[in-house]
């Protein structure tokens, strides 16, 4: 088994070897390591992408709109960096659609890290594959195979508002149960055991 440290190092060097700067290479090393830690096939995807990287003219997007469409296909590295670097302002768009991206799984860690720095969960849909990105702590997904995703026609990104995913009723019931750990207080107990003064007018 390759260690995650080896994965980080080899991907960083490979990315530099493909002509990206050292700073970008550092990002991709960390991202692919993260994909592998989450059980997603990062090495497989970056290796395949680098094989075709010089054959086609992949595009970047320096300014994001609600809907983004390239002439050819977006580069998941350049687009990922651009997305991550502008994520604090992009979140105001709430829902973003990106068409035509090569090897979109490489784009995913940038969105996951954006979830961390914006403090919002992000729902990412790559064609029919769904990912819930939880503050870069975990990924919940229906993509369980390790098949290579060479191209995506439509990618949807939704910044989710911070709200609880349980009802007020659930909360009240649990709160009531938790109160069973408290001691019923009598006047005498109040006088004898309270830490602060019972009146604060002195």
């Amino acid at each position: 088994m390759r260690s995650y440290s080896e994965i980080d190092t080899i991907v960083k060097r490979s990315t530099k070897a493909k002509g990206f700067s050292w700073g970008v290479a550092e990002e991709i090393g960390k991202n692919i390591k993260q994909l592998e830690l989450f059980g997603l096939p990062g090495i497989k995807h970056i290796n395949q992408y680098f094989k075709i990287f010089n054959n086609e003219k992949f595009e970047n997007c320096q300014s994001f709109n609600k809907s983004n469409r390239p002439q050819n296909f977006y580069c998941p590295i350049k687009l990922g960096l651009s997305f991550f670097d502008q994520s604090i302002s992009i979140q105001d768009l709430n829902d973003i659609e990106i068409e035509k991206m090569a090897y979109p799984l490489i784009f995913l860690p940038f969105v996951s890290r954006s979830s961390e720095i914006t403090g919002k969960r992000i729902f990412l849909k790559i064609d029919q594959k769904e990912f819930l990105l939880n503050f870069n702590q975990s990924i919940y997904s229906n993509y369980l195979s390790s098949e290579i995703v060479e191209k995506a026609d439509v990618i949807k990104i939704q910044f989710l508002e911070n709200k609880n995913n349980f009802s007020e009723e659930d909360w009240k019931e649990l709160t009531k149960l938790s109160e069973n750990t408290f001691v019923e207080e009598t006047d005498e107990l109040k006088q004898k055991t309270a830490g602060a003064g019972l009146t604060d007018n002195d």
Binding site: Y4, F20, G23, V24, K30, L81, D85, Q86, S87, S89
Partner: protein, 550 residues
């Protein structure tokens, strides 16, 4: 009284970093303290008459065990090389997480002796190899087999029986990643398991000479005297690999230096030094004269530094006798201020190390702060502005900005990774091939380039927006924001200038390991000694913590 931390622009200069010495903060000393109540055992010693075979040593406590698996191999003299290009060694070692099974030992026997071309697993924590000091090893075997102890003067010229030529950890060659072990209580300082490996290798070297001598002359052979064992350490040959490490791990570097600086600050702030504390300090100081005078090297560069240090120590002792009244307040602050005015950098840093000796209560809490979770500082703060970036550069890199990189002398060297060994090297940009594949270790030059790029940009421009068009500067933008949080994270010098002495960078790291007797063999590699004078494994539950000055 409040004493400020020392200025990073002074402490982080290479000449100062290259004058650092071991101290109570050093990793090998904190390792011994951490494992002093662990049970040591030699679990297996299956060597043939000539000393080749397998041995296993362990430390265990409660349900945890760490096992050093040793493979001693036959090596022809012409095959023995300390250089990183070697492919065979006298012995190879792996530290196993737990108790290895027969299957594990078989697997390790196929891989550990191959080192970089073998494969390890997440069950192995560190990996190393070592070569005999042929002169010392054969001499000791010869003496013991004749029933006599070796001459200690002869042995002190070397100081060890084996020297390691590399110690690997943290995921290299399939070893366990650091995240798997970092939360263990006993691993609360950097390089702790590397230190354990080296320490147990030292014991293996004693057992091996005894074993060979015994089989050479079963009737008359004696075992190596324990006092002589204690005064032998483990050598290490260190090349350039360590130099980029300290550039590539800025927050870790910061935490090492910050611990040292915090200790110094707190000691200088001590109002009244007790008699007992002063006695410990003074004893270590006077005893260390013996250590320094037995520091052998052929390097003219190091000889000069040692002579300066010996003069400094004499001056320091005289100053203490004539000018320091123990009953006065803040005597360590007074002493430090005098040293800054009167001693060389070697002397100043030696004093700093010795001043730590009486103060466990200051040092011990700092040791657990010397590791670093580097992922925390990886993300660039994209919402900050160009004005923020510029202000940090002007504050933290003012000396760097004065360097003129249009002059060849300031741009002469480049760091690269060799293809055949994947090891760092340093070349001449104007003479050697490969500078187009330069590693990102020319921090000073890149800082200057970044500063010039942002000079005319709008103050309010967000970093995220700046990076969209300037990804070539991404690595250096990240560093600038790291230095904002970690003031001692950056070497305040030019790492590609013609005057660069790379061994200064090695010495910085080795001093934190606890190495002594730095012996430069060129400006690019050196030999050192570790654990010389240290207690033996079965003495760990009660040992003199000032052993390094004995």
């Amino acid at each position: 009284m409040q004493v400020p931390l020392r200025d990073p622009k002074i402490v982080m200069k290479l000449s100062r970093l290259g004058s650092f010495h071991q101290s109570k903060l050093s990793f090998l000393r904190s390792f011994l303290n951490e494992f002093k109540d662990w049970k040591y055992n030699r679990d297996l010693f299956d060597l043939n008459d000539r000393g080749y075979g397998v041995a296993i040593y362990s430390f265990s406590k409660d349900k945890k065990t760490y096992s050093l698996v040793c493979f001693a191999n036959e090596l022809k003299d012409e095959e023995r090389s300390d250089r990183v290009i070697a492919t065979k060694w006298d012995a190879a070692f792996a530290l196993y997480d737990g108790i290895p099974s027969k299957i594990d030992i078989d697997r390790l026997s196929q891989n550990v002796p191959k080192q970089e071309v073998g494969r390890l697993s997440y069950k192995e924590l560190t990996l190393s190899r070592a070569n005999r000091s042929v002169r010392a090893f054969n001499y000791v075997v010869e003496c013991l087999s004749k029933g006599i102890q070796p001459n200690t003067n002869e042995l002190s010229k070397v100081g060890y029986l084996y020297r390691t030529t590399a110690v690997y950890g943290s995921g290299k060659f399939g070893l366990a990643d650091r995240f798997r072990i970092k939360n263990r209580d006993e691993i609360n300082g950097p390089f702790r398991l590397e230190m354990m490996l080296v320490y147990l290798v030292r014991q293996f070297t004693f057992d091996q000479v005894n074993h060979i001598a015994k089989h050479k002359n079963p009737k008359d052979a004696v075992e190596l005297d324990l006092d002589i064992c204690r005064n032998l350490g483990i050598g290490n040959s260190t090349g350039l690999g360590m130099a980029p490490f300290i550039v590539n791990h800025p927050s870790l570097l910061n935490n090492w230096i910050l611990a040292k600086e915090t200790a110094l600050k707190k000691i200088r702030e001590i109002e009244k030094v007790s008699d007992e504390e002063f006695k410990i300090f003074y004893n270590c100081l006077t005893k260390s004269l013996k250590n320094v005078t037995s520091w052998n090297t052929d390097s003219e560069y190091q000889k000069k530094k040692i002579n300066n240090l010996i003069n400094d120590l004499q001056n320091l002792i005289n100053y203490l006798k004539d000018n320091i009244d123990k009953s006065n307040f803040y005597i360590f602050d007074k002493l430090y201020n005098w040293a800054e005015e009167n001693l060389s950098e070697e002397g100043i840093e030696y004093l700093v190390s010795i001043m730590m000796e009486p103060y466990n209560e200051i040092i011990d809490p700092l040791i657990s702060q010397m590791s670093s979770d580097e992922d925390i500082s990886f993300n660039i703060p994209i919402d900050r502005t160009i004005n923020d970036l510029r202000e940090i550069i002007e504050k933290n890199y003012s000396d760097i900005l004065k360097i003129d990189f249009s002059k060849n002398e300031n741009n002469k060297k480049f760091w690269f990774i060799s293809k055949n060994k994947e090891e760092p090297r340093i070349g001449d940009r104007f003479e050697d091939n490969g500078s187009e594949l330069e590693q990102p270790t020319a921090i000073a030059r890149d800082i200057k380039k970044l500063y010039e790029t942002i000079f005319t940009l709008k103050n309010s421009l967000k970093i995220g927006k700046f990076l969209v068009r300037n990804n070539d500067l991404r690595h250096i933008v990240r560093r600038v924001f790291i230095t904002e949080k970690y003031p001692y994270s950056e070497i305040q010098d030019n790492t590609i200038g013609s005057k660069l002495v790379p061994i200064d960078m090695l010495r910085l790291k080795l001093s934190f390991f606890g190495a002594v007797k730095f012996d430069p063999r060129s400006d690019k590699w050196l030999r050192i000694c570790m654990f010389q004078g240290a207690p033996l494994p079965n003495e760990l539950n009660s040992f003199n913590q000032y052993w390094i000055y004995n």
